[in-house]
Symmetry: C2
Subunit: 162 residues, 2 copies
Amino acid sequence: MKVEFINPFIESVHKLFTTMLGCEAKRADAKLTRVSDNPRQITALIGLSGTARGTVALSFPMETAVAMANRLLGADNTVSDDSVSDAVGELVNIVAGGAKAMFCTESSVPIDLSLPNVIRGERHTVEFPSDAMWLDVPFTSDLGPFNLRVAFEMNGRKRRDN
Amino acid sequence: MKVEFINPFIESVHKLFTTMLGCEAKRADAKLTRVSDNPRQITALIGLSGTARGTVALSFPMETAVAMANRLLGADNTVSDDSVSDAVGELVNIVAGGAKAMFCTESSVPIDLSLPNVIRGERHTVEFPSDAMWLDVPFTSDLGPFNLRVAFEMNGRKRRDN
């Protein structure tokens, strides 16, 4: 995986914050990791397929997820668990969709998105098989810290999928 | 989601067991659920995209995952954590790939697969946004119990993904 593939996803996170959440997100340096080794309480992920196969994930402490859900929904009070799941699922869908549009325009790499899944659980981890890596980008924001994680392979190696 | 969409995935699980794991898997009745409400310790999932968007997941108690990894790898002893993750990721890839082939042949519903992800954590849950449901099929086998979970939407409703 080339490091520059992360850029459309980072740009998409910044755009999400400035246009829909009304604040800014600041990123730290990206690092390669095989497992989500900074466990969070809630992870929203969405699969990528087509020319590039992989996953985009946003991982949050619960406080960040609730704050982002409240901001996205324009709610003043703590939203329900269902609303938080819907909101973080929609956030990863927006980030992946924005990056998809940039990939299709800039580099002619067509990618398709699956539906978002939301993982909950204290200290859950999300892994890839051992021949793939996450690019992990920590962010801070007025709504709290979170991590963007992206992994994909180009032109799919041969797998036993038929 | 139509219940008959689950059938290629069930058939693919049966084929995986008889051809690669050397034993049989017996299924119980499928039920609709919004959350993986029978928490397992390890879940392998893979995204579906194209005409149909969704997710296929296999959820295991750790004992079943280790037994299936040992059988798949031909190992006598307990395999490493990495090998278990690789094995269950490969299992969901095989199940989804087999079903994909049946969909393409039987109903001209082209679907693409993302890369598998493996979730670990005591009592983790895997959810969809509230407008989607899992079809959950419990299985028993000589290697232990596990669950097949499938959810997808046909012809994607309009989302904010561009």
